[in-house]
Symmetry: C2
Subunit: 220 residues, 2 copies
DNA sequence: ATTTTATGACTGACTAGTCAGTCATTGTCA
DNA sequence: TGACAATGACTGACTAGTCAGTCATAAAAT
C-alpha cells in the first residue's frame, strides 16, 4: 500500500554545488509550507474535518500540488507527524552535560519542555496525537516508539541515578517514570482545553511536583 | 385538557404479561439505544468521521428517528456527553463517609476511578473530550464546569485536610491538585493509546504515586 | 524544444438532514 | 367488549451539498 516513500523527497545529497533556488530547494520550501499549513489546519479541526482546499489555500499552493508531495490525505497526516516530531526528538536526544545534581538535570528538562512544548503548537500536536491516535495506529506506533518509549527510558535512567545518589527517596518511582512526567502532560492538555477557564501556572506546578519527588529545595 | 400523554405506565393491567411497550417506554428505550450507539461510534471514529447512518444501524433505528430525539449531529454529540457524564458526577458526588485517614479516602477514590473509568468506555469518553474539546467549546465548558472544577475543588479540600492532619508534607500541593490527579489521567490516556505496546499496571502506579505524596505506607 | 512542475476546474462518491407516507398504539363510542 | 378514528412515532428514499482525488493544460526550468 503506502510502501512507497512517495515522491522523491528533495533530500539533497550532502554536497551542494547547487544554486540556492534550485528545483530541489523550491520543492523543499513548498513542502515545508504545506506541512506548516496542514499542521495548523489539522490542529484546529482534526483530521476528518480538515479540508485539503484549506490547506492548499493557507500554503499558497494549488490543491494538485499537495499531491506532488503526498500520496493522499492519510499519508500526509502521518508524514506530517513524523516531520514535526523528529527534530524535537533530535533536540531532546542531544543530552545536556551530565554535570550537576539529578534535580538540576530534571529541571533543565522541565524548563525546556515548558518553553518548547507547553502552550505551543507542538503541545497542540501532542493533543492531536492523543485525539487521532486510535484511528491512526501507525501514528500512535510511531509516537510510542520515537517519543514515549525513549522518554520513559530516559526518565527511568535519571530516576535511577537520583535514587543511587540519594536524591530520590521513593525507589518504586523507577518503575513508573510516567509519574514524573504526568504533570507536564496534564499541563499540555490543560492549556489546550481549559486555559480560558482557569489558566495554569505550569512552571510553578512543575516546581511543586519536583519538590514532592526530590524534597523541598534548599538554597541554590 | 386530557391532552397529557400521561406516561400512563399504570395502563397495563397488573396481571398482564404485556407491559412490554407503552409509547413512552419505547421512546425512552430508543433514545437510550441511540445514545449507546452514538457513544460507540463517536469513540471509535471521532465526531466528524462518524456517520449518522451507522449510528442508526447500530441502534436498530431509521435515520429519521434520530432527528425525533436530537436537533442535529452537533447537539446530539453535546447531549450525549451530558447524558453519559451526569450519572458519573452524581456517583462521585455521593461522598464516602468522612471516616478514616485522608490517604484512605484518596485511595477509595483512586480505586473507584480505576474500576469505573480507566480502561472502560468512560475512559474513552475522556479521551474523546480531549480530542473534540477544542472544536466543541460548549462540551469543554460543560466538562470543565461539571467535572474538572468540582474534581479539583474536592481534591484540594482533601489535600488541605491531609496537610492539617499532618499526613501530607508538601503544603504547596494544595495549590495544584492537578498533581494528585495527573497519574490517573495519564493512565486513562495510556490505556487508550499504548496498552498494546506496553500495558500499564495503573493500580500499582497509583499506589506508588500515593506513597510519594503520603510517604511509604506502614502496615495495612 | 523538451521535460518537469504547478494549476484549478472537474468528477464522483459520500452524507447530513428532510418529509410524505405508514401503521402500531391509544382513545372513543356504541 | 369490539369496532372505528385519531395520533404521532417511525421509516427510508430523496435532496442538496461537500470534498478527496484526478487530469488536461499552462508555466517554468533546462
Amino acid at each position: 500500500m503506502t510502501k512507497e516513500p512517495t515522491t522523491s523527497v528533495a533530500v539533497s545529497p550532502a554536497g551542494e554545488a547547487v544554486p540556492l533556488s534550485s528545483r530541489a530547494t523550491r520543492a523543499a520550501e513548498r513542502r515545508a509550507a504545506i506541512v506548516d499549513a496542514a499542521m495548523e489546519e489539522f490542529i484546529a479541526r482534526g483530521f476528518a474535518a480538515t479540508r485539503l482546499d484549506d490547506i492548499a489555500k493557507r500554503a499558497g499552493v494549488a490543491k494538485g500540488t499537495i499531491y506532488l508531495h503526498f500520496k493522499d490525505k492519510e499519508s500526509m497526516f502521518e508524514e506530517l507527524v513524523r516531520t514535526v516530531i523528529v527534530p524535537v526528538v533530535a533536540k531532546l536526544t542531544a543530552l545536556p552535560p551530565p554535570t550537576g545534581s539529578v534535580r538540576d538535570l530534571v529541571e533543565a528538562f522541565a524548563s525546556n519542555f515548558l518553553k518548547e512544548v507547553i502552550g505551543t503548537r507542538r503541545g497542540d500536536l501532542v493533543r492531536l496525537i492523543v485525539a487521532e491516535g486510535p484511528r491512526f495506529p501507525s501514528v500512535a506506533d510511531f509516537y510510542y516508539r520515537e517519543v514515549v518509549s525513549r522518554g520513559i527510558a530516559g526518565m527511568r535512567a535519571l530516576i535511577e541515578l537520583g535514587i543511587a545518589r540519594g536524591e530520590i527517596r521513593e525507589t518504586d518511582l523507577a518503575r513508573y517514570p510516567q509519574i514524573l512526567v504526568a504533570p507536564a502532560m496534564i499541563a499540555v492538555i490543560w492549556q489546550s482545553l481549559f486555559a480560558r477557564h482557569a489558566p495554569l501556572d505550569a512552571q510553578d506546578m512543575l516546581r511543586v511536583h519536583l519538590d514532592l519527588i526530590f524534597g523541598e529545595r534548599r538554597t541554590t
